[in-house]
């Protein structure tokens, strides 16, 4: 079930110079939300900016019926959203999109969070913890520099006994100096590949690398993709990604909003 609801802003928290966390009260949407889902937000009721903006859900509080989104100001839409204050009302559409395939207890989960790509994999991790998931979880979080690890407060709170959290920054200011794929390599060397389930979101370059890696090494890997979506409901056909489920299939197009945003890494072609 998809809901369209005027939702009250409970809090707007600044996470960095141009990064914000908005917490909304949206009980119906929260009830149905699972990791990988997104909400389509009408940033204002006027005609400019016109279209909704899609945001993966970062975290939910099922008791309070609240959900969190995290975003950077990159244009007019996010600029408007960044100015929302407690008590403001914003129209939300959701939950939308396909979810991650949750691991089972024998699996070793590796979350790969590139920059703000942390959002959907953080939700997955938190949801697994809430469900008392017994399998091992790695959480690899990387960004250009420490200041852009916007959700550091969240990841530091992940229970160490259950989640092994590793960091990387391009400049070495926090965690390993280098990219997330280097961290992934370290983890893959330790673990049995057939038990590994990788869940990733982040910049296109990172996801393209993971897509190749998953294909070459035959790894289980799911990617959450980010593209502009006019409708979010599968009607406009505007948000497609190149899709090729195996080497014998022709390239077709899949809608990220409703046939994704979560895809098997092997099956999408990212340039």
């Amino acid at each position: 079930m998809v809901y369209q609801k005027d939702s009250q802003v409970l809090e707007n928290i600044r996470l960095g110079e141009d990064c914000f966390k908005l917490i909304f009260s949206a009980p119906e949407i929260v009830k149905q939300s699972q990791a990988g889902n997104f909400v389509h937000i009408l940033v204002n009721p006027f005609s400019y900016p016109l279209l909704r903006r899609a945001f993966s859900i970062h975290e939910v509080n099922r008791q309070k019926g609240s959900l969190e989104v995290v975003f950077k100001v990159i244009g007019t839409g996010t600029e408007h959203l960044s100015r929302k204050r407690r008590g403001d009302t914003v129209n939300l559409l959701g939950p939308l999109g396909k979810i991650f395939s949750y691991p089972d207890k024998k699996d070793i989960s590796i979350m790969i969070a590139g920059g703000l790509g942390i959002v959907p994999v953080y939700f997955l991790t938190r949801d697994l913890l809430r469900k008392k998931h017994r399998g091992k979880i790695y959480f690899l979080y990387g960004a250009k520099e420490k200041e852009q690890l916007y959700c550091l407060l969240d990841t530091r709170r992940l229970p160490r006994k259950k989640v092994e959290t590793l960091y990387s920054t391009d400049d070495g200011g926090y965690g390993l100096k280098g990219y997330l794929d280097a961290l992934l390599k370290q983890v893959l060397e330790k673990e049995e590949k057939s038990k590994v389930k990788i869940y990733a979101c982040g910049p296109e370059g990172l996801l393209a690398k993971l897509s190749h890696l998953a294909r070459e090494e035959n790894l289980f890997c799911e990617l959450s993709l980010e593209v502009g979506m006019p409708c979010g409901m599968g009607t406009c056909m505007g948000c497609v990604v190149k899709y090729k489920p195996d080497c014998n299939s022709p390239v077709t197009f899949k809608r990220v909003c409703c046939e994704g945003p979560v895809f098997k890494a092997q099956e999408v072609i990212l340039d």
Partner: protein, 315 residues
């Protein structure tokens, strides 16, 4: 909560166009509402005058590579390239659901050749529960067919006539604004036997990525829609109404009741809402409610009173 039409029950917005009795004059435009079911959680289809399908072609089409859409000031560009499930899948999979609803169903059709338009129309003759065909002679995003026909009066005539001859449904060609004289094209439609005419489709536009130094859309150009094009659409309805006898269905940038009323006043017998469905999926039902309220407040007994009323007292 779905918007429910209960408050203004006594107002009847029903209108008959080309022998089809629509419960109200609000339709959802082709390409903005999928095949209807996609919005079923949010919109009560029983309350919309008509659902117009995504353009259907004789075989399924994959459309253009990404990027296909881009937001512009108060509008958006799209170059989808007629990505659709094909006419057979529409008849076999989508009509079953649509048939259960009170809304009228209009199939939008296209082809690369006039023969393909005819083939699609012939197949739809067997679709139970369909009420009308909208002929897409106006999409600017494919090399062959569509606007290729709709930008020339002679080819418009040929295409509309060919479809009209084989179809058991009334036909509604959808006109392109990307022409020198839209009245000439509308006249060709009328002569060819069109039962009504919808106008306008999108305006050709483009966007350039100034960082990447290249066009944003893979198709280079796309069709502009949304409130940005409303004045253009309104002017075209106004102009065509003066020369054409068949009913007009106004479309282009309608966001709310006021926009809709303006189109009726310019000469439209019904309206289509398109891009606004992405902004507010319930916009069509809200406009139906708004029209009832407008009629009640202004003592309008039938929508017919409004059609072309502004033409009687030009400024």
């Amino acid at each position: 909560m779905m918007v429910r039409a209960t408050r203004h029950k006594n107002i009847d917005l029903a209108i008959e166009i080309a022998g089809v009795k629509f419960d109200n004059p609000v339709m959802v435009a082709s390409g903005t509402f999928g095949y209807g079911k996609e919005y079923a959680d949010l919109v009560d289809l029983n309350q919309i005058g008509a659902v117009i399908s995504k353009t259907l072609t004789i075989v399924p089409r994959d459309g253009h590579p990404p990027l296909r859409t881009f937001e512009t000031p108060s509008g958006m560009l799209n170059a989808i390239g007629l990505h659709n499930i094909g006419v057979d899948n529409f008849i076999n999979e989508k009509m079953k659901f649509l048939r259960t609803k009170k809304t009228k169903v209009i199939a939008n059709i296209a082809g690369s050749t006039i023969e393909e338009y005819v083939q699609v129309a012939e197949k739809l003759n067997s679709a139970e529960g369909l009420h009308m065909l909208e002929i897409n002679i106006s999409s600017p995003n494919v090399k062959r067919g569509c606007m290729e026909f709709g930008s020339r009066a002679d080819l418009t005539y040929e295409c509309v006539k060919a479809v009209k001859e084989v179809s058991r449904y009334p036909v509604m060609p959808k006109l392109s604004p990307n022409v020198t004289d839209i009245v000439e094209i509308a006249l060709a439609c009328q002569e060819a036997g069109a039962d009504c005419i919808s106008l306008i489709n999108t305006l050709v536009g483009m966007a350039i990525d100034w960082k990447k130094k290249k066009p944003v859309l893979s198709n280079i150009t796309g069709g502009l829609s949304g409130p940005a094009i409303k004045p253009v659409a309104l002017a075209m309805v106004w102009k065509v109404y003066q020369k054409i006898k068949v009913p007009l269905i106004g479309v282009g940038g309608i966001m709310n009741t006021q926009d809709a009323v303006e189109f009726f006043m310019a000469g439209a017998s019904a309206i289509q809402v398109g891009t606004v469905n992405y902004v507010d999926p319930q916009a069509s039902v809200k406009i139906v409610e708004g029209l009832k309220k407008y009629c009640l407040e202004n003592k309008i007994a039938s929508m017919k009173e409004l059609i072309g009323i502004a033409q009687q007292s030009p400024a």
